[in-house]
């Protein structure tokens, strides 16, 4: 009788141990700096927009409603994103939005903002980078 009880106990322990092993094997909690890096990239994309005369002029025109500036910025950012990896960029200002490389948009995202001066007014420029985790 004792032995049977021990067998049941051992079987129960084995079941729990196997569950733990499965959990340990499947649970992939790797520490990563990827979100920090993606946040830096979002900041960089805004910086290269603001610090280049050509890009900042295009941003000002785009925010004012120019379609050609919209196309210019999309092309420009598409070229940069092509060298960075599989990122989708969403640029927003004054209720307008540009989406670049957003075919297979990742589930995770980071956002950064800058105050932009177009020569007359200040407005907020927001960049959101989407990526797969």
């Amino acid at each position: 009788m004792k032995a049977i009880v021990f067998s049941v106990e051992a079987m129960l322990s084995l079941t729990i141990a196997v569950s733990l092993l499965g959990f340990a094997a499947l649970h992939n909690a790797q520490p990563t700096y990827a979100p920090l890096y993606e946040y830096m990239v979002a900041q960089d994309l805004l910086e290269i927009g603001l610090k280049s005369g050509e890009n900042s002029a295009a941003i000002a025109e785009w925010a004012a409603g120019s379609d050609s500036a919209d196309a210019f910025l999309e092309r420009k950012y598409a070229k940069v994103l092509a060298g960075l990896g599989n990122y989708c960029l969403e640029l927003e200002a004054k209720g307008k939005r540009i989406e670049t490389n957003c075919g297979g948009r990742g589930k995770q995202s980071v956002s950064a903002t800058r105050l932009f001066f177009d020569g007359k007014n200040f407005f907020e420029l927001k960049a959101t980078v989407y990526f797969s985790g």
Partner: protein
């Protein structure tokens, strides 16, 4: 004496040993998983830090354009295009300025967009674990 070799006791002993072995393998698996991912994260950190340092520090330590010790972050010094940057780390790390279409270097690489003469380029930092 006979009881020790009875089927029930033998099965119980076998199951107990199996449980112990499974627990030990679970521990070993978790420990080795953690160890390798920790090493990978450190390499990642080295590359991220190196790229950030070069992007935000004056040439020749970094690649940023400076005037009167004021660094213009994300605006690179023209001389940085052909320069190589030495950074002290317990990992092998190389940082260079590359064009938009340049191939990636060896190891774990990160790229940070910047401007050189008004054109978009990347500061690319690649880190590898020293063997």
């Amino acid at each position: 004496m006979k009881g020790i070799f009875s089927t029930d006791v033998s099965i119980a002993f076998f199951l107990a040993m199996l449980t112990l072995a499974t627990c030990l393998s679970a521990f070993w698996l978790s420990a080795s998983n953690y160890s390798s991912s920790y090493k990978a994260a450190l390499t990642e950190k080295t590359a991220v830090e190196a790229a950030d340092f070069v992007l935000k520090n004056c040439f020749p330590e970094g690649a940023a354009k400076c005037s009167d010790s004021l660094a213009y972050s994300h605006v690179l010094d023209e001389r940085a295009q052909t320069a190589s940057f030495t950074l002290h780390s317990n990992r092998s790390v190389s940082v260079k300025v590359v064009g938009l279409k340049a191939a990636r270097g060896n190891g774990f690489c990160v790229r940070r967009p910047a401007l050189l003469d008004g054109e978009e380029v990347f500061v690319e930092a690649c880190a590898e674990e020293l063997r």
